[in-house]
């Protein structure tokens, strides 16, 4: 993972190695919903190279800071999703029991 172009801190391209659409598209989503972001997009320069370039331009804040905040947001969302999902599964099993168990009865 490395950071390109550092002359102007408010616009940078980040290269994420060993990553693909999975993370890049999620990051683009959360970055674009940040009011500090004026532009955000990503590209995979070559399909057989495991790397993505994330371009990020902000209204003035350092791009790395905005990216970090977005990652943080994404993590919090994931944690919430995990918590809600586990609770939903728990409620479901308490209520109905596993389908397989019902068949045996």
């Amino acid at each position: 993972m490395e950071q390109g172009t550092v002359e102007d801190p408010s616009a940078s391209t980040f290269t994420l190695t060993e990553e693909d659409h999975t993370l890049a598209n999620s990051l683009r989503f959360s970055l674009n919903q940040d009011p500090r972001v004026t532009f955000c997009g990503y590209s995979i320069p070559h399909p057989s190279e495991a790397r993505v370039n994330v371009r990020l331009q902000t209204t003035g804040d350092p791009a790395s800071e905005v990216l970090r905040d977005s990652c943080q947001d994404l993590m919090l969302m994931c944690q919430h999703i995990r918590g809600t999902f586990d609770q939903a599964v728990l409620d479901f099993t308490n209520e109905k029991g596993l389908e397989d168990m019902d068949i045996k009865k």
């Binding site: 990216l67 596993l98 389908e99 397989d100």
Partner: protein
Amino acid sequence: MEKVSVWDLPDVPEGQLPSHIQLQRTRVHCNPDAPTHTENVQYSGAYSSVGVDNSLQLEQFRKNFRVEVIRLGKEDMEFDMIGVDPSLANAFRRILIAELPTMAIEKVLIANNTSVVQDEVLSHRLGLIPINADPRLFDYKSENDDPKENNTIVFKLHVRCERGGPRLTVKSDQLKWLPNGSEFSLETSAAKSTAKPKTYTTFHTSQETLHDFSKKPIAPCHPDIILSKLGPGQEIELEAHAVKGMGKTHAKWSPVATAWYRMLPEVVLLQQVEDERAEKLVKTCPVNVFDIEDVGKGKKRAIVARPRGCTLCRECIREDEFKQDVALRRVKDHFIFTIESTGALPPEVLFTEAVKILEDKCERVITELS
């Protein structure tokens, strides 16, 4: 259209999108020719001119996000994930398929194979067998690592079809777990007369003493996968070494048979459809989305009874007759997620692990930035 003075138009409520834009934002419109409004508006300032903030607010997300489990079995589950962006739903799907580790047979040491199935074909078949072992209890084995109890599972397969007997079918339950590691001795060490001959693995302890493998021995998930058929006099003797890996290296390590999602279909009757027309509408739908409701006095009208079953085949709006009456849409933030596990881990655990992996990815970026 009738001419109306601007001053007579109703005010757009502040902080709220006009209903038609809200509809475009939240629904995919499935028209007879092509779907429209398929894109998701992500830019935070997209609606700033009407005073609507489109930025990501965690509080809002927490309030709206819902999970509803529809079906949960040992190997498959279906649940609704509501209030989440497709990029996240797709990330989970991609992780489930390609980035969740499992154990799969990677190396096959063939001592004897006189069956009609060639060595390489047999090895490939062995590789695809799902193995009932929790991958979280094992480490990845890199090329330079010795095969040890914490990164390798060894199976033995020795079947022989006796002459004069009937033909044999070799199934996956013939694979016997060797908790003490390989039993084949290395040829180079055969000359030395040490107490214990060196084998292809270096296990320090038996795997039976680790975790709770003694209670739940490691075996293929399904006992009835056909590997080969043996004729009289044919024999297979081999050892199979399973290691931890990920689906993006090879599909045999994918923990799911499939994992997919679809957006919730929404079928709306824009106008009342009554009597004969209602019956005709019910008949047009191949998956029985519509139903007929009696409204008394011998009157009948069509209702949308099972919108979830709609496959959006658009059969109902193909002819001109119902084009104005029926609207087919998809809810953009409502995902019907289905996971089919291969058996190593239950589907609900798979999903939680997938979410954890996305968290780890974010964390990696954060640590790299600071």
